[in-house]
Subunit: 358 residues, 2 copies
């Protein structure tokens, strides 16, 4: 039996993913899209990856704008498993509310939070890592799964691996978190071998997580517990919650206090943070990958990624590492190396009178 007793999976489903524009929009964020050509959206894949471990013990936390879409994509999700945020308050409020809800349902619970819009290539490795992380979390640690870096990425934060944790095979103390580094420092991290990517995977007993939060901001934790005790107060209490990521609110101060553990793992993880990342996950090195209908794309001497999503023929000629995303109302042409700059375009759409395309 793969199920991990008392393990509750939490899936925060937020963020527009503007760096994947025009594939993702504020109305159709990344987690609602099939970005791997598998026929399943990212949130469907995330939930299906967690189901063998958590069974019915699953909470998806999303914004009111996406409630219907999430429910439609996850028809087996029962109503208690879908937590709807009245407004965006970043990951601490989303995960903290889930923790407060689980704390009341299962006194022996360990929650694990996994973003709805990341990909993991190695499901078996993931299941193994979560099982071991849950064991450490049961002992009171805030545990993060740290991904072995495959490149000196500057788009991720890193976690530094410390001494092994007695009694928990493969688990180490976390020496600390570091913010997104510059290129030189990222290279040092990869060469040094002590740093892992912070993939935003956090596991803890709900009470441990909320108590760590209370040490930083006792009102924040108290309000989350008040909502869990009386969900009718959600609307009243939610809007005053701080907008802050769980990394800053809890993980960094807890690591500084020596209370965070890290499980290094090599899971073929990717956050699909931009179109270059999507191209990499789809295997577009030295060849041209099509996400969508192959017969719509005509190629002569080109490599990169083409997403033909408008029904039209897309011809790409003589360009290496190009990215073409063709949708019914907007077209993006860029290079893999420059793909992150699409944010500049999205920022400019509003002032250009194209707010409907964001």
């Amino acid at each position: 039996m793969l199920q991990v007793d008392h393990f509750w999976a939490v899936v925060p489903a937020g963020g527009a993913g503007t760096r994947l524009w025009p594939l993702s929009r504020s109305s159709s964020p990344k987690f609602l899209l099939d970005l791997t050509g598998s026929g399943r959206t990212l949130i469907q894949q995330t939930v299906e990856r967690l189901a063998p471990l958590a069974g019915e013990r699953l909470l998806v936390v999303t914004g009111s704008a996406h409630r219907d879409a999430v429910a439609g994509q996850l028809p087996s999700l029962d109503v208690d498993s879908l937590v709807v945020e009245p407004s965006p308050r970043d990951s601490m409020a989303a995960i903290g509310l889930a923790a407060a809800l689980v704390e009341r349902r299962d006194p022996d619970a360990v929650i694990g939070s996994f973003a709805a819009d990341h990909v993991i290539g190695d499901d078996a490795g993931f299941h193994d890592a979560v099982g071991r992380a849950v064991a450490a979390a049961t002992d009171g640690w805030l545990v993060t799964i740290g991904i072995t870096p495959t490149s000196p990425a500057t788009g991720f934060g890193y976690v530094e691996v410390g001494a092994p944790l007695a009694g928990h095979d493969g688990v180490h103390r976390a020496s600390g978190f570091v913010e997104k580094p510059d290129a030189a420092r990222a290279s040092e991290y990869v060469a040094g071998g002590r740093h892992r990517w912070n993939a935003g995977m956090f596991l803890a007993r709900p009470g441990v997580l909320l108590d760590l939060l209370a040490e930083q901001d006792d009102g924040f934790a108290a309000r989350l517990r008040s909502i869990a005790a009386d969900p009718a107060r959600l609307t009243e209490l939610w809007d005053d919650l701080p907008t802050i990521a769980i990394d800053h609110a809890v993980a960094e101060p807890a690591a500084a206090a020596g209370r965070v553990a890290v499980l290094p793992a090599d899971l073929a993880w990717d956050d699909l943070g931009d179109l270059d990342s999507l191209a990499r996950v789809l295997g577009a090195e030295g060849t041209l990958r099509v996400l969508g209908e192959e017969s719509s794309v005509a190629v002569a001497g080109a490599t990169g990624l083409v997403v033909p999503a408008s029904g039209r023929v897309v011809a790409v000629v003589g360009l290496d590492d190009v990215v073409v995303v063709d949708t019914p109302d907007a077209l993006l042409v860029t290079s893999r190396a420059q793909a992150q700059r699409v944010r500049e375009i999205v920022a400019g759409l509003e002032e250009a009178g194209h707010d409907e395309l964001r």
Copy 2:
């Protein structure tokens, strides 16, 4: 008065311009398009450039598929000025038939043939050059206007300038024509200073042109004159005419016989032969040019040419010398350097089941 007595302008309007796909198609060839953003199509600009010289003495020769479109774009063209080919027979048949028709209408005529789908930046220089070329043609020469090369182009044929022609200021004997050269030879031509681009501009008395043709193929010339004598025989006689360019049929053998003159000129001419050429004419060096609605294009760090012709927003990010042509049913993304390879795409469309896009 700018008009040149007895000068008849002939405008062959043929060729699909597949290297400009998907802007040009077999159903909407290059000459029917506004490719300069002027609000006028190439054939309209060509006719308007010739009107001051030729007045009503104009013949447009086009295929039956394009008769209605040409008549629609040139509403002042009278019915005698529109010559319709039953089938494509290349430029010798088209220009030769015009010559045979003019030969009967005006015994003192000089015809000058100018492609419907080229651009000329210097109208005053063009008018001056045609005036002087007509004078030499009146004296019995087959005259070509040779364009000063601005680069070692390998996509054009060249004409070699010989000794000055007495009595005709600026006009020289043509030593001969050369086919499209390789890059090394093209560089020699530009460095040497004796070679000009063959822009397909030919001027001659109709009788001189047809007699030169008769020296090579007397049946060809005789059939053209038979059609002119009795236009009801066009359908009967046309299909058996050879499919050959005027360069091979007349200009090259006539030059070898010392009967061609060349007027070197510097007219900011371009044949708009491919999308790189179009980008150059539109001034896309080091900047991004938009042919169409500027407000439809969003740019971040890109140079080249964008043609937004689908009504959608086109975003181009971080690419130099890119070419994006966005039409309602087909999209092309390429680089200026590789733009000629679009022919590979067009060739592949038929076998890919997209014949309607050619």
